[in-house]
Symmetry: C2
Subunit: 310 residues, 2 copies
């Protein structure tokens, strides 16, 4: 098989879940499991690995809020911290499974968003801990945060704008060309934007970029042969949770566009797959991390191929 460039976006839940203790040991074990699934891909192909960071940023936000002597750092900085934390464990565990000569590197990744993005007028993405209403009101007044109900509690929401540009794209590409396993674009990248004053000043933004869309931009700009979104589901289902539920095997952007998918789960993944396949003419895939070797071979997961007429 020819050596391909494969971008894999790893779901945040693959590494840490809110349903289990969020300790270093638990996360380390999950990373090890993920590394075992990914190592064969890294040996055979050029692997570029992106990953989520939702639970990890949630933990960092809780820790920062618990320490009262220093105001918590903003979300862009917490995102940068989470990139360091997660990528460190991934790089180390993956390196332990690969030949010693195989280079690995983590590139901190900043992604540009547009302050005029409509998402800034309608924050939807939950981040950090839940609060009682009075506490939420106080924080809203003090820090300008926006809150929405999350079950019986209030939780902070931030905008989820479109990724426009990956600043470290060239360094990532140069390392891939040298055969390096590159870990990058963690959590959808650190959201940054140019100030609207014409000075080309880049600043951090309190937002969360969808990981699957940011990784798609990365895969497309790298000209990847394959873009895989690895999650805990075997692929994309039609008529999910009805008696007609069925897994989509091989499909196309046009077929995917004939259906609706949940905004909070498969929606962004399907959108990212459509963009990648339309933008490159190459394949995208959505499926289970456990089955990633079969997904790369095209025999598991939902494989999105170009429309014949594309």
């Amino acid at each position: 098989m020819n050596k391909q460039t494969i971008v894999v976006a790893l779901g945040g839940n693959a590494l840490l879940r809110r349903s289990e203790p969020m300790t270093a040991e638990v996360q380390r074990n999950n990373v090890r499991t993920a590394a075992r699934a990914l190592a064969p891909i890294a040996e055979e192909h050029n692997l570029v690995l992106a990953h989520g960071n939702g639970p990890q940023v949630g933990l960092l936000a809780l820790q920062a809020a618990a320490y009262k002597d220093v105001e918590p750092y903003p979300l862009d900085v917490l995102g940068a911290q989470s990139q360091g934390m997660i990528a460190y464990m991934v790089e180390q565990e993956l390196g332990n499974l690969l030949p010693f000569e195989k280079p690995l590197a983590t590139i901190l990744t900043m992604v540009e968003v547009d302050l005029d993005d409509p998402a800034f007028r309608d924050p939807t993405k939950f981040v950090g801990p839940v609060y009682a209403r009075e506490e939420a009101d106080r924080l809203a007044a003090e820090r300008g945060w926006t809150f929405r109900s999350d079950g019986p509690h209030m939780r902070r929401v931030v905008p989820s704008p479109e990724p426009k540009q990956i600043f470290e794209l060239d360094p990532i590409r140069w390392l891939v060309e040298k055969g390096t396993v590159v870990i990058c674009a963690g959590g959808g990248g650190i959201p940054t934007a140019y100030l609207p004053d014409g000075t080309r000043t880049l600043v951090g933004v309190e937002a969360v970029i969808d990981k699957d869309l940011a990784s798609e931009l990365l895969a497309r700009e790298l000209g990847a042969d394959l873009y895989v979104m690895a999650t805990d589901a075997p692929g994309v289902y039609l008529d999910w949770s009805t008696p007609q539920q069925r897994l989509l095997g091989h499909t196309t952007p046009s077929e995917l566009e004939r259906h609706e998918f949940a905004a909070g789960s498969m929606g962004p993944k399907v959108e990212a797959a459509i963009r990648f396949v339309r933008g490159t003419g190459n394949r995208a895939a959505i499926g289970s991390l456990e089955e990633i070797t079969a997904i790369v071979a095209g025999t598991a997961g939902t494989i999105v191929e170009p429309d014949v007429t594309d």
Copy 2:
């Protein structure tokens, strides 16, 4: 002037000090000041920038300890977080001062130490918050931490072993060759070691590698033309805080070896300078970040040049 490869190790105090509020804004302002000093070097030369992380890891340790629901993450993971945090701000602020085409990248850096290093039998490096004696005794029993007196309080100490290998050296070199400003080796690198079981399994270690010695190894292995340790002092003084106190201008390893320097401050810097100059035949410098342009020109700071007989 020819384009040189210059490794600059930035003192942790240049970016965050325990004597001022440890907020994101304060750190951001300090980073901006440092970036203004460094930008001319990055424009004219190949700049590789390493940095300290002591105060930042201290803050992360305090935050982690304040949140009681999840056991604090170990020091290697906090170090990785701090690399993300610090490098993000540095990369962004430095990027804002450089031409848009100039590539910048941060490489997460793991450094190998030897579990047989004598430092593991004599932990000396203070990390994290101070504790009352009873709390220190409890943590010592629970977590196996070692404590020493720090003024009236107890504080955790960890070993400070020698850096042996920088795992991401090749990726760093490849990016430098492409003209990238590379930020790496933060906090002396994440300390890691191979388990002594012959399996070549790399694990994180609860230790702190001296930033100046790790950056020296980096500079030497990159074959840098110049290694600068930028601090808040104008250089190395002889007879410090005596009436005979005087700044060393141009000097050599042999001359430096004829004097004693404080283990906690100039000692490791002088040792790093000697190693670099002896190991490469190139110059090292110790001086103030504000004067870095003059230091690179050889007209400020303490410039360590090869012994004539070397």
